[in-house]
């Protein structure tokens, strides 16, 4: 099945039950502002639509159907109760600008979530508005700039990031008008403290850091790092992408960070949706609280002494960096995170990081036993770890990409590959806490089988995946160069083959 719905379209086919009757009179709109030619949309029956999109769904790997050991992405089970309860009609049908009275239920949930996230972060105040991790980062860095600006210290225009940081960190700093300076990592996976000490100065706006780091190890000297950055007048930003490793055990605020974003679609189990929507709430220390993005839910009492929830406006937070979304962010996603936290509580959160870490360390141990090379064998894995396939690349001429594509044929989604770029031919593997021991064992067996193949029949890896009967494949390895050279981004009649 390679046809698009446009190929199935036939003029005159229509779903009358979805189409309002044409108007008796022409619209009261000047002719020159009206559309002359109807848009090219498919003309297909409801059954054709349902069948087409159902079949498309079946071409996907997903957490519901496959093991997804995708490092840095925390592809854990997404509880159905969160999905169902966040989709109750009272929540779905409310207009964002409807009266405050009509939103007490949803705002009570959001206020509880603010409180819970503040506690988990060890921070003073929370805004739920950012709609993804990258927007949370933007909010955090914009707040750091606002803080320096308010103190007449606006010459701080350099953001420090470790060389292994997520790409969103430097991209965010650039969007906030800052230049980026990378700090090297030492051989044990820690940030090089001497290099950090040399890098800071009156130009330092701050440091963006993920902890545990993107190398799958805990940054042990974070206390000292915070001292160095703070002593130089900079602030610390915590990229919460890896919070699943330490949630309920260590708090960014206690580590010395001034701002943090959460990825609720990682740590708090909201679904990834094939790329989103997620949410990236931010929590901040006392000194950044005045700059939080709007709106924030506040809790007061009504005239009868009952809780009353409402949105803070510019008048409540005059120094806010402003709005980031039309209304108040991805509320439906935030509700899912709220429900998840109400289901697991603080003990459950500690269990999450405990078993995520257990699964990662077990998988790392088994792969070491099987003869694979891990990037930091002397360190404890956190919730993820790195395998380097450099020995296999040198011995058999196969790449991390080859391994990843062949894993798909074994029914496993590939780990994250070639990130962080510091480690050659790397696989960043994150099993999450919701996978069974049996699944991890099967994954190890697949890795062993693929390496055996690499030894005996490397060509099999180079050409993977083949058109195999696993869900999702159906095509062989796709030509990325061809796609970029002459972009074909929309369907056109002339392609009708």
């Amino acid at each position: 099945m390679t046809d698009t719905l446009f190929d199935a379209s036939r003029p005159g086919r229509r779903n009358g039950h979805h189409i309002p009757e044409p108007l008796a009179a022409p619209p009261d709109i000047p002719e020159h502002l009206r559309r002359a030619v109807p848009p090219l949309l498919p003309q297909v029956s409801e059954l054709q639509v349902v069948r087409h999109f159902t079949r498309l769904s079946q071409l996907n790997f997903s957490v519901d159907t496959q093991f997804y050991p995708l490092g840095s992405c925390t592809m854990k089970y997404n509880p159905r109760s969160c999905q169902v309860l966040a989709s109750l009609p009272g929540f779905l049908n409310r207009h964002p600008l409807a009266s405050t009275e009509s939103g007490q239920g949803v705002m009570r949930c959001l206020h509880e979530l603010q409180e819970m996230l503040g506690e988990i972060a060890g921070m003073r105040a929370v805004s739920l508005v950012p709609m993804a991790g990258a927007q949370g980062e933007f909010a955090g860095v914009a707040m750091i700039r606002a803080y320096h600006r308010a103190r007449g210290d606006d010459a701080r225009r350099v953001m420090l990031v470790p060389d292994a940081s997520h790409g969103t960190n430097p991209a965010t700093a650039a969007m906030c008008g800052l230049t980026v300076q990378e700090i090297p990592t030492d051989s044990q996976g820690d940030v090089n403290l001497d290099a950090l000490a040399r890098a800071v100065g009156p130009q330092t706006a701050g440091l963006m850091l993920t902890n545990p780091s993107t190398l799958g190890v805990f940054e042990r000297r974070i206390g000292r790092m915070a001292e160095i950055v703070h002593a130089a007048g900079g602030l610390l930003y915590y990229d919460g992408a890896n919070l699943n490793a330490v949630a309920g055990r260590v708090r960014p605020g206690d580590m010395g960070f001034d701002a943090v974003h959460f990825n609720v679609h990682k740590t708090f189990a909201t679904p990834h949706g094939g790329g989103g929507p997620g949410a990236g709430p931010v929590a901040v220390s006392e000194r950044l609280a005045p700059y939080l993005p709007l709106p924030v839910v506040k809790k007061t009492s009504d005239d009868k002494g009952r809780d009353w929830f409402s949105w803070m406006s510019e008048a409540d937070l005059p120094e806010s960096i402003g709005r980031l979304s039309t209304f108040a962010g991805n509320i439906g996603v935030l509700l899912r995170a709220h429900i998840y936290l109400r289901l697991i509580g603080s003990e459950g959160l500690e269990r999450v990081s405990g078993f995520a870490t257990l699964n990662a360390n077990y998988l790392m141990t088994r792969l070491i036993e099987a003869g694979f090379t891990v990037a930091f064998p002397d360190r404890r894995a956190t919730h993820e770890f790195i395998v380097s396939l450099k020995p296999e690349a040198e011995a058999f001429g196969v790449s991390a990409l080859d391994f990843a594509k062949r894993l798909l044929e074994f029914g496993f989604h590939a780990p994250t590959i070639y990130f962080p770029a510091l480690v050659p031919e790397c696989l960043l593997i994150e099993p999450t806490e919701t996978e069974t021991k049996e699944t991890l064992d099967q994954f190890v067996e697949a890795m062993i089988a693929i390496r055996r193949e690499a030894e005996t029949n490397p060509q099999r890896l180079h050409t993977a995946p083949h058109a195999v009967p696993v869900p999702g494949a159906g095509v062989g390895r796709l030509d990325a160069t061809r796609a970029a050279r002459k972009p074909d981004l929309i369907w056109k009649e002339s392609f009708n083959r």
Binding site: R14, N15, I19, P20, L23, A25, R35, L41, P42, E46, V50, H52, F53, L56, Q58, L59, S62, V63, Y77, G90, R94, S99, Q104, G105, M131, A132, G133, A134, G167, T168, M175, L178, V250, H272, G273, G274, G276, P277, R323, T326, F327, N330, I339, L343, G345, S346, G348, L349, L358, R379, R380, H413, E433, T436, A473, L478, A480, P487, L489, I490
Partner: protein
């Protein structure tokens, strides 16, 4: 243990395998001084207890009869839309970086890009941004890059949604871009051409043209586009995608090849109101600006056997490749919302989109006629409108809306919130979901509320 499958035997075997006595040992690299005490969170509840709690809260959030628009619109969503979009294979899939494991999402996005490009009459579209306001922010940044005139002014009419303007300010503040607001004509509600002409020859980098504008009013898009093109500026069209079943698409505005960028909020295409999100932003552009586009883009390609497949492409624009030199920091977008929008548009087809847009327009016109028949209620502006219109009440709108809400009507948006001078202004919207009886009920109730207070 909720969502954790380990048996006591599993745990024992795994710890033995690792060679540690207990799970806590795995955390030994974390300095003791940093370990937090047990967190003070609400106690864990069973699924049954959480269900009850959430049902109680959701049941209390009654919307009533909704006549509010102002950036989010109540439309009928065919049952098949979310029935299919909620399938676990869409819901729980990751970003389609591994193309061969993500052909469903990728082909869907290719179709989505095609539909959005068709609606806007542009050459290409991306795979979504967060929402309409942040999408406009990205479009403005893109226009500034593409203009080759980074010092140039970016003109945004004051008739753009106040929250959108706030987001643009947030997103441009630290880049030292000069964003200038253009006032609207108090009679027509349109961009004031006199004010615009003051920027003639002043190195304008981009002009944002809202259609319809925040007041529901239709701008003279051809004239504005031609003006901007003559100034060498990039034209950013801010549009409601559903309106494009009825209104001239941005790609055809003016006499010089149309707008350069079209963006907006996709919520009217099958996305529930949900107190404000998740919605999705869309961004389409003409071919020359393609490589300045932010966000993910899907392209069609082939495998070695010549079979068609789809893949994320032009990734050299993106943060995971270009880091500080990327066109945006965006990573996660609003993927699942594009699944719903694609299904929605496929069910409606060209005729469905056109007739729905026309019906919304007609309902709002009828509502306007009924409401302005109430003594003291008049139109605030006289320009033509799409499916929203601004009225002037004989008294401030906010308290009137509070009373209407108590009577089961969410009556509109009080313009005084975004425009302090317009405190008697009320922005109302009637979509295809409203019956004639609904419109009469609103008119009767408003007449009663205005009358009671006057008496």
């Amino acid at each position: 243990m909720p969502f954790i499958p380990h048996t006591p035997t599993d745990i024992e075997q795994m710890l033995t395998g690792i060679g540690v006595p207990e799970m806590e040992t795995l955390f030994e690299e974390i300095p003791q001084a940093l370990r937090s005490p047990t967190l003070d969170l609400p106690p864990a509840l069973s699924e049954m207890a959480v269900s009850r709690l959430m049902r109680e809260r959701a049941d209390g959030d009654a919307n009533g009869l909704c006549f509010i628009g102002a950036g989010a619109y109540e439309h009928h969503i065919p049952a098949a839309v979310w029935e299919i979009a909620s399938r676990g294979e869409f819901l729980t899939a990751y970003t389609p970086y591994q193309a061969e494991a993500s052909q469903g999402t990728l082909r869907l996005l290719y179709e989505f890009q095609t539909m959005m490009a068709a609606l806007t009459a542009m050459d290409a579209g991306n795979a979504s941004l967060y929402d309409g306001a942040s999408g406009l922010g990205e479009a403005v940044l893109m226009a500034a890059r593409a203009s080759g005139n980074p010092e140039g002014k970016i003109l945004i009419p004051a008739s753009v949604h106040p929250h959108y303007r706030s987001v643009v300010r947030t997103m441009t503040r630290d880049q030292d871009l000069e964003v200038v607001e253009i006032p609207f004509d108090p009679v027509t509600g349109r961009v004031q051409s006199k004010a615009l002409n003051r920027f003639q020859g002043q190195k304008v980098a981009a002009l944002v043209i809202p259609q319809p504008n925040f007041f529901g009013i239709l701008e003279e898009v051809d004239t504005l586009t031609d003006w901007a093109k003559a100034e060498g500026a990039i034209v950013v069209a801010l549009v409601n995608p559903l309106s494009l079943g009825l209104l001239k698409p941005p790609g055809e505005w003016g006499t010089h090849g149309g707008a350069d960028i079209a963006c907006g909020d996709g919520q009217p295409l099958g996305i529930p109101l949900s107190s404000g999100g998740p919605y999705f932003g869309f961004l389409c552009c003409k071919q020359p600006l393609l490589r300045q586009m932010p966000g993910r883009i899907v392209g069609r390609t082939e495998d070695p056997q010549g079979r068609t497949g789809y893949i994320l492409t032009l990734q050299a624009r993106e943060q995971h490749i270009r880091r500080a030199k990327a066109t945006s920091n965006i990573c996660t977008n609003q993927g699942l919302m594009t699944v719903a929008a694609s299904i929605h548009l496929s069910l409606l087809g060209p005729e469905g989109v056109a007739n729905t847009a026309a019906t919304c327009h007609a309902k709002t016109r009828t509502l306007m006629e009924k409401l302005t028949a109430i003594p003291g209620v008049t139109r605030l502006f006289n320009g033509p409108f799409f499916h929203e219109t601004a009225l002037k009440l004989p008294k401030p709108a906010a308290p009137v809306l509070t009373q209407l809400a108590r009577l089961g009507i969410q009556g509109g948006y009080p313009l005084g919130e975004g425009y302090p001078n317009l405190d008697k202004g009320l922005l109302v919207c009637a979509t295809e979901t409203k019956t004639d009886a609904d419109l009469d009920f609103y008119a009767d109730t408003l007449a009663w509320v205005l009358n009671v207070k006057e008496g």
